[in-house]
Symmetry: C5
Subunit: 340 residues, 5 copies
């Protein structure tokens, strides 16, 4: 579920963001505590070995190694590489959100344009909007693991009322080696065209408005599909991950507190806990982990993923209500309080 915190920061207050630092759900701590334990464990182990188990000459060698690692750790352009990568991932993530297919525009048109309060009219409107919902469901099954878990087979789709058994039969009779999420889309077009012939849709103007809207809906579906199909090139992700992992590997060795007696530059204090290195771990691992790892596929079941299953339910409920019960069910027009 998306973690909403905007109401917490509506007004800028005294050190207002510190409250955000203390949350658990969807937070950096929840996401990173396991990696953090591993990192601290490795660092501590090495520290203990260095302090208690190494012979003097080994200590000297280790100290040189540590200085060597520290020098190169600083040369790794983690910030820069992450900055560009994260910008790319955040843009993709937001575009996916923006392209979630909502049936609201279509239910508005169908409710207003498709005529008739009789049973045939109702059936027509409900069927049209159901095809819309069916199409988005088929796409969500392809891109979202959460939805796929809920609707693993076409049976589940039929049971949930998105498809009638007749439709399923026809759907499965169509021979194609490719994905068939576009089938309800074609049905929608033909059904609307038929409704036009029957006079339920008054003229070509009305028909085309619905058709264009449906085409836009399909484009959003296929955009989502495209984002799932063609991800950020694997090598880019590998380059970034490699940079961050290398950095942390270098830190485990290079950020050890060395014997203050040896007089190495910048090593005349031993406070045992490498506070700043741990905080750096939080920045960089947090940036990589959350912004990239979590956002790279926002259709999973992480705290910050989109609630696709909730969307599916909301869309069906709301759109059936709009095209059926609310069709030509208007409040009586009365003069408003500013009349003259």
């Amino acid at each position: 579920m998306t973690v909403t915190y905007s109401s917490k920061v509506a007004n800028a207050t005294f050190f207002g963001f510190h409250r955000l630092l203390l949350r658990w759900r969807g937070s950096i701590y929840k996401l990173l505590y396991r990696e953090f334990i591993v990192f601290v464990g490795l660092y501590t182990a090495l520290s203990v070995i260095y302090r208690f188990f190494l012979a003097e000459s080994q200590k000297r060698y280790f100290e040189k190694l540590s200085l060597y690692c520290d020098k190169y750790a600083e040369q790794i352009p983690v910030t820069f590489v992450l900055g560009f990568y994260v910008t790319l991932v955040v843009n993709r993530w937001w575009n996916q959100f923006v392209n979630l297919p909502w049936p609201d525009r279509l239910m508005f048109l169908i409710s207003s344009i498709v005529q008739g309060r009789d049973e045939h009219g109702r059936l027509l409107r409900r069927t049209l909007i159901r095809y819309v919902n069916l199409m988005s469901l088929l796409i969500f099954r392809s891109v979202s693991t959460a939805v796929y878990k809920r609707f693993p087979t076409t049976d589940h789709v039929v049971e949930a009322g998105f498809m009638t058994p007749d439709e399923r039969k026809l759907f499965e009779s169509l021979k194609s080696p490719h994905l068939k999420y576009w089938v309800p889309f074609i049905w929608f077009g033909n059904l609307a065209s038929k409704a036009r012939k029957e006079g339920r849709i008054r003229d070509s103007m009305d028909l085309q408005t619905i058709m264009n809207e449906m085409n836009k809906f399909r484009s959003r579906c296929s955009t989502l599909f495209g984002y799932d199909w063609v991800g950020i090139p694997l090598v880019y992700t590998q380059v970034v991950t490699l940079a961050v992992y290398t950095f942390f590997f270098a830190c485990i060795i290079g950020r050890q507190f060395l014997d203050t007696q040896q007089g190495y530059g910048g090593h005349d204090l031993d406070i045992y806990i490498p506070v700043f290195t741990l905080l750096q771990f939080f920045f960089y691992a947090g940036w990589l982990k959350v912004v990239a790892e979590q956002l790279i596929n926002p259709f999973g079941e992480d705290d910050d993923d989109f609630e696709t299953n909730w969307c599916i339910d909301r869309n069906l409920q709301v759109s059936l209500l709009a095209v059926d019960e609310m069709h030509m069910n208007l409040p009586k027009m009365k003069k408003d309080i500013y009349w003259n």
Copy 2:
């Protein structure tokens, strides 16, 4: 209220921006003076302790600690992290402004297209435009704390004249576990469709123009809602905040003026007031605080937030004027002064 200062900088003048540095309302000083006092207090306290209360050996230890903190403070990539984050936040903020729903395009069409200067015609135009305003009000209530405070219940909406009691009854009779801001949107469609049947809207062409415009209006509303619903991932914000706070924490220790007698590099001057550190505090805290903390939710009551309550009033007043009083109320056409 938005703080406008563009007229102040219309012409580039002699050191023209210094005037901007001396403003209070909406300024960095007003926003930060409390945090600044806290920061200065902590720095001073530590300075006093170091200078007067520590024993010599403690002083030496503190000096090492200070050098250690200073070294790492420089390594924290605050600028870079803030730069990317602020760019993201500013883009979202501007997009929210751009998507504020104004009824001007709809009032233009309704005023021109919906026929009849009789009472029914007036009622029709006023009701249509009222639904538009009602819809934007319902959305604003969801996203803006300022608007929510003004209209905490549906009663307040009815009282303010955005909804009639009949409409409210129907609105509340609709059963849905989900938000119902889209209800006036469906009413609008059905009412326009009815007006078309009655001949108040001449043909499908005219009807579809209005319907498409209304659909665009709804998209803006739902875009605003989307920005409120799905914020910048919490972890991103936490990473940035953590980086800035760590930096300031390191500065409080690391930027102390150390005993100039000890001969630490870069510590042979003691001017008591860390001028540049304080200025850095203003840059970084200002950047984080204002650009991010204030812009991240522009619908609060900060100095720089959008004046949503003013928008609501302006929109209702202006749109009723345009569709009612101004309908077919044209100045007499006369030859302009360039005629022949």
Copy 3:
């Protein structure tokens, strides 16, 4: 007036850009020479004081201060902060240019669609296009100081022929506490709708094309207005200005040539004129001053501002020509030279 130099750089030539460095109008030199004199003055004054008026011990103290300032001057991330800020400002500036409202699309439609070469037809076309020009004039008066100076009152608008006295009377009779730039927009819609009834516009299709175009025109007007109304948050501008000013303040002290006898690192040469600091002044002050200070409001009277007054004249002249004299005034169709 915009300074155009693209034709100077059409072909890449031998050290081709050096010519651009030698221009005065709209140049960095013209824009900065006053600030430059102030900066050089302060630097020289301090230099003279240091060299001739300070006692030896004061010199030593000043040298320490200078080294201290120099160290921190380098830490101020001026480039980075300016880079992000300038990118934002340049984007806004270009968007404002792109959204300048030109009546060309509307004059094309009005000239082709609104029928009748008789006086009533001519009057209709001229009035419609005049409303378009009037609307853009009203907006320009709000956003541009140059236009506001030329048309300080509605009287000037009427005198210049954008409004007839009748229209002005009606305009002023409309009661609204808000800006009324949208009034000609509503008049346009109603007048077009009336022309449709009279048969001057043949059908709803033609009418809607004009209406949609007018709606686009209005959107551009309100976009301009939006950019003027909601600027870049004041604090962002303050942060950037503060960073640059701090940097220059630090430079005046920190970039002094110190006594080469004292053996400070990097201070064994005294060439009196801090060439590179002066050049840095040109980069940073130039970047801030021009790109930000000048572009932040492109509707003033700077060398690089948009020529709004010229636009207003061009638009009126050209659009009246197109809808009136050129209406159905076509060259005789003849076979072109490639016929068969």
Copy 4:
């Protein structure tokens, strides 16, 4: 074939990205292992020469050279230059993906709008959609080496059923020195216009919807063509490549482990394998190689290129199915399970 890995990262898990580091197909290792061998070979050769074959004085000279190279290697802004370049390339690459021409929107309209289940109707619909597919094939032949290999001549296009022999004859009879991919586009328009006259397309509204959609399809085709025709300026690519190659050249000399006895700063450890330099090779060469070299033309046959041949087959199969077999072949409308 595109390498999809998003399902692998749907849920953020314990050190979740390490799995991505271990893949071969489409990975950084597969892409770089040859270059890596060359780089390691050169480094080793130089190392061996330095350690075993140089005289003492030559060693001293080499050491100075190595320190010199190392100093400048750090000054080369590889990260920065690559960051901007990669951002540009990734944007172009994604835009090309987004502009792949899919016939889905057209097949939806053709299936619904073009009337008649008789043979003439079927022929009409199939021919129209075939022109669409033919056009995209002609474009793909221009931009994709993979498609060009499969369809080297017009014969292959005819054989694959995209063109009939009659069409080919007419196609080749048209005299033009320029590319003729737009020919099926004009045929489509004229055929649709003819179908309108015959009443197969009911009215101008329906006709224009199809025509507009076809125009959008053509724009996508020509966008693809434009990306192929006008690449990133060669000099930009050369600058970036030169920077990266220079960096690696400097590394081969400058990152040698020097005699620890000589006491050069940062050279008191000899671990034979320059771990961090090798990892840097992977970052930078990986970034350049993959993100730029592979994405710069996504229509080749690399692991991460778009599967254009698969698209062509899918589009033909699916679109013929939609316009022919599925035309007015609707499931019987039944009440859904939420009816009342």
Copy 5:
């Protein structure tokens, strides 16, 4: 002419980009060899003077100066400034390419919609499309030096067949102090409107489709004009140029090889040729020169400029072919090979 090299990099191969480094046409070498010679000349001259002509004390002074310059050369943020500037220029350059006006969409509509294979119909279609071509020619004359050279006067336009003598007379009789590239645009609208009255264009729907398309075409023309008219602010360009020139000036002095006997840090090796400085010259000068200097006006006659003259010829030839010879000249519809 645009330099296309994408087919060279379709498949990522062994050190694939090195081939790009060896090209001459459109390459960094061709573009920079003159500047390079100047730079090397200055460097060598200074080197010779330093080594052979200066007295010992002058040498010592020069060495200090050189170290001073070197120190500041490193502080000049060339990379950063260039990065932001180049991003801006490349975006503008690509937008100009994207907005090149192609008549393909219009020729598609005119060929399909404007009726009649008789001479009047042919004349009508040819004239309409000729106006389209004429308009783009007039714009190209304003923005492109190459086109202006080819068509210096209206006579040349008439001779090339874009305008008939009658049209020219009418064109020149229109009095306006402003550019008149929009005149054929108004003619187009009026001619299409007349064709509608004569029944050559069937109804308003068809007419509006053409009109809207023409309006889009005009927008592209005026976008090109806008890019030419309002360039990147001169001061931005000056800042960037100044930064790069300052850097090279500092390099010529600061990157000299100093006497290795004097023991200056980093100056214990004299290899006479400053390899890395020369390579840096190539990066930075290349970046500035090519990406900015060449792309800033892509309508000149550089290797990488758009081939506007070729476009003009192609557009006229192809569009006349499409609207005349191909009008209703369709291949006979036959069953495709997948029929049943």
